[in-house]
Symmetry: D2
Subunit: 341 residues, 4 copies
């Protein structure tokens, strides 16, 4: 049995195409997951445009934001049954003996490999998934939304696990992409007053962000950040993909405040970090997520507290992957979702 898959077959820019692939063989502790929906991530786009900074095992099926039903169980899998509605974490291969894995932070195990770059991902009909990666999805949460558990977990990790937001805090998010908007939504759910700042070109995405009860700002966020007692925002979430935004964050954060950096920036910082010392500020990097974060985010979706519908720009069949990728690449939609034929 063959299935169509969105395959990234080489390092050269644009090396993505539809290919027919075999049904994956699963191991004793794996399940075979029948994909219902899979989100397109910025990192899928980066591999497509060859603008990525991580090693890829070519050829590889793209896609790591996915959910579906269990189609088959490995011989040693317990606690799951065929037909279960699930979403999957992203660390497909980990070393269980690594000290990070031993403390539940397998997402920081330096030897890990993820879906969509290290092993075959989910932009196809069937994907092999270790049972330890699975989480139940309640019946009433549609897969089109459930497949966005992953980026929601990135946001939860940044805003909740790696930060310390308290009701009444002022939180400023820089960069209204998927992660930025979800970070803003998460800070709002956490009781903060939230603004999200972008560029002129981001007006459409800021409009979407405002559906989460946060303030959209274009350009300079100083006035918003210094409102209140004038000392700055309690937390700045830097979700923009450029080193320079850190300088804005250092200016607008209050003394003893926090900047959480979830956006990457491979450019050198052409400025000093002395304000971090002078203001006694915490600059916290945030990377991915782990098991308890997935459970909390699914609980938030199940109760309706977190609604990801506003950021979904459309659902495309896998064969129309290019349109889905391009819409997102050009900022016409915040998030594209695919579904297997």
């Amino acid at each position: 049995m063959k299935s169509k898959a969105v395959v990234n077959y080489a390092e050269e820019k644009g090396s993505v195409e539809i290919r027919e692939i075999d049904l994956p063989q699963i191991g004793d502790t794996d399940v075979l997951l029948e994909v219902a929906n899979v989100g397109v991530c910025g990192s899928d786009l980066h591999q497509w445009t060859s603008d990525h900074s991580w090693p890829v095992n070519y050829p590889v099926v793209l896609g790591h934001e996915f959910g579906g039903r269990i189609a088959e169980l490995g011989s040693q899998v317990s606690g799951w049954k065929v037909g279960d509605r699930v979403v999957s974490e992203t660390a497909a291969v980990i070393d269980p003996n690594n000290p990070m894995s031993k403390i539940g932070l397998y997402n920081l195990d330096p030897t890990r490999k993820g879906f969509g770059y290290g092993v075959n991902g989910a932009m196809t009909k069937y994907v092999r998934v270790p049972a330890r990666c699975l989480h139940h999805v309640p019946e009433h949460v549609p897969f089109e939304q459930a497949c966005l558990t992953e980026p929601s977990c990135v946001a939860y990790s940044a805003v909740v696990s790696n930060s310390n937001v308290r009701p009444g805090d002022r939180v400023l998010v820089i960069g209204p992409g998927t992660i930025g908007i979800l970070c803003a939504a998460m800070a709002k759910i956490n009781g903060a007053e939230v603004a999200i700042v972008g560029l002129e070109a981001d007006r459409g995405r800021l409009k979407i962000a405002e559906q989460y009860g946060v303030t959209g700002l274009v350009g300079d966020a100083t006035e918003w950040a210094k409102a209140g007692d004038g000392l700055g925002a309690d937390l700045i979430v830097d979700a923009a993909g450029h080193s320079s935004t850190l300088q804005i964050a250092m200016n607008l954060v209050r003394p003893n405040g926090q900047i959480t950096k979830v956006g990457w920036g491979k450019q050198p910082c052409n400025f000093s970090l002395d304000p971090i010392v002078q203001k006694n500020v915490r600059l916290q990097g945030s990377f991915s997520h782990n098991w308890p974060i997935w459970e909390k985010v699914i609980a938030l979706m199940a109760s309706g507290t977190l609604d990801v519908k506003p950021i979904i720009g459309g659902v495309w069949e896998i064969e129309s992957w290019r349109e889905a990728f391009e819409k997102m690449h050009h900022g016409e939609v915040v998030k594209s979702v695919l579904k297997p034929a």
Copy 2:
């Protein structure tokens, strides 16, 4: 100039009456505050029924939940002006050299004295207030609501400062009085799924609690607490005034979870605390509040995130104090508010 005041004049049960008192003399670092509204607290009722456990400086004007305008400034007061709309903290007298005061926890300075029992409180027209106790109230927050900043701060302290609620957590509050309902509201604002449990007689108050988006429960909360993964609630807030509820809390809290005790109970615990050890649970006492908590709660009221209107059962003139006290004492209203003539 004389003003009417609700005076608790002796230790005997029922020793409360309206008296005419002189205009207070203020010191160099005080202001004279013209009271707009003052809430009735459970502790005012306890002094009235002589069911209290703290020393009282008889005779004393009752009332420590209050707001109004500044009528006069002490000679060394800076940063305030006559006419400013303010609410006041409750620790009227503190030792600034006490180690607790030195770290901003003057509310735990063992030598402190509060309004309404240690010094004259606000159930009258004018009250003397140290400037360090004041917080600005925005124009659009009416004093009838602003005077409930104090119990809201008790709730913020219990749920936010002394606990560690995260979005998606399950929080169970025991005891639907003013503090319990505000704790439930605060946990909800913090992103939790929240239930509040009471007795049959509490059905009316649970109805009011449900306006905050929380689930009201009568009797046994086990099913709610064990919903989800079956291990229990992440946080139990014990806001009931009886020692026995701790036993319920120990049963329903999850391993490694927290119980925050804001309710008092002078009865001996006729049970063992071994479950706290066995489950590795944190039992956290929570008492009053301090400066940053007041600022956060006012920000929550100003943004409309926290709305105290649902718990206000009515506003009475000071001369009708007895009706206001009795309505609350009998559970007919959650919170009574007074206003000077």
Copy 3:
């Protein structure tokens, strides 16, 4: 092949004897461990005197504080080899899918079973151990000391993981048994000024405690606790096996301080817990330990920072278990250690 073992064969008081047992069969993910030394725990004594409060799978080999060399490997064990010097954690059976296990707190999985009561323990020559329980022990740490990693982890968990000691803090430990003395040592290592308080009968054990640079006190600890600024100790570790010591702890802890309860007490508390509310105190239960704690404690032993020699009262052959148990039961030694023939 048969080995002698200290077997607890029934619930009746005194139901412990030497029996010959078969070599354990190991599973795919287990190792066979050849025991070098095994400590006697208070809970072994409690099962012997039938003064315990947990269910026991009779007949069972006692002993859960142990170390030795790997004698055989299960077919799926990786990362270990025959001859490795190891100590073992205590949670012999856990549910890997339990939410507590998923976050690395398998020690709080309610379905877990431990060595020495749930499955056969280590007071014999060979014991079956899941590979996930193992930790490497450096060559220069003798097994007579390494077998005390387990109680040292109980202390680390109580004083470090479940408390928040800072250099210069005042820490008072109540109860100079093995756990109390190790808690005092751990608080000292953490930079605190430490005292440990006991009864007249504890003078010998307090003398041993003083070898860790802590102050031994007999009777009333008030003067020591209130030295300094007079407000009380930052942390009280209640390691005594009686409910009543909590009342002492509540009196001597400073406002906003912490009491960590590692000692059990099945008696009802015949006092109110109001001081916990009034002082805004954290009462934290502490139970067992998990993987990272074991690694830290072994590092402390390997560097010589933690030296358990002072508490070892002697090493007995397994057949002399009764003498080893009795010496400890009567308080003649702090800790007895056994070795297989």
Copy 4:
């Protein structure tokens, strides 16, 4: 009455000389402090060599690390008496109404002014000090050592308040100046295994550091940092005065670890901060100290836990300030101490 003082009289390099100054006039809430000893700080040297980055109120008496006896009391000072042995904090002028002051972090009040640059410091016989800055020094701690409370507080703030060291952690300090050595000592007191790394030229200072039980390293610290489980150090304290060391820190810190930056570096970072995101690392700036830190450090000195003698390179009379400054400037001593004639 006139006294000799080390005065920094202008911005030009080298603008420091001995001048005769008048006895300071004190205000109602101040004391007049008779200086016993005053330490020379790197920032005093920077003002001398005009290599500083903060505004200076010329002419100004240098010196902010000092202790002595109270010579006179302002009219409203309570809790102190003439003759008391004291050390003083550094924030000479603060706005008590600033939100940072209100929460006890007056050291981060942006309007604050410090001794030795904002107001006259202590390199003279008498200095005016607000009573709120004072801390008692026990009789048995000599002033030559007590005057180093201030840099010890910088270290405590960096390593204890702004970091989270646990016994058994591996802590690497970069930069063996006064602050770096004291940070290493503090981490050691906190139970960590500690190394401190410097350059060839730092061998003498590393030798002094080793008196605190820490490992001195020259050049590359990779091997030390990766010893143990190979994942890197739990905490890196960057106490070097150059931006480039942050890159070393990012390489050597373990995933989910912390880098605490107490050293300034006005150079741009010519590298990306992506490793902070990738490793989920906390980069924490640490600036100065506040009241509770001073109390803890004095307690550590009083108990002998912290001994600053090893870093004191000599005590000079104020008129020999130049020799004291130069010895330190050239790295011949770690710390120079002055005393008034």
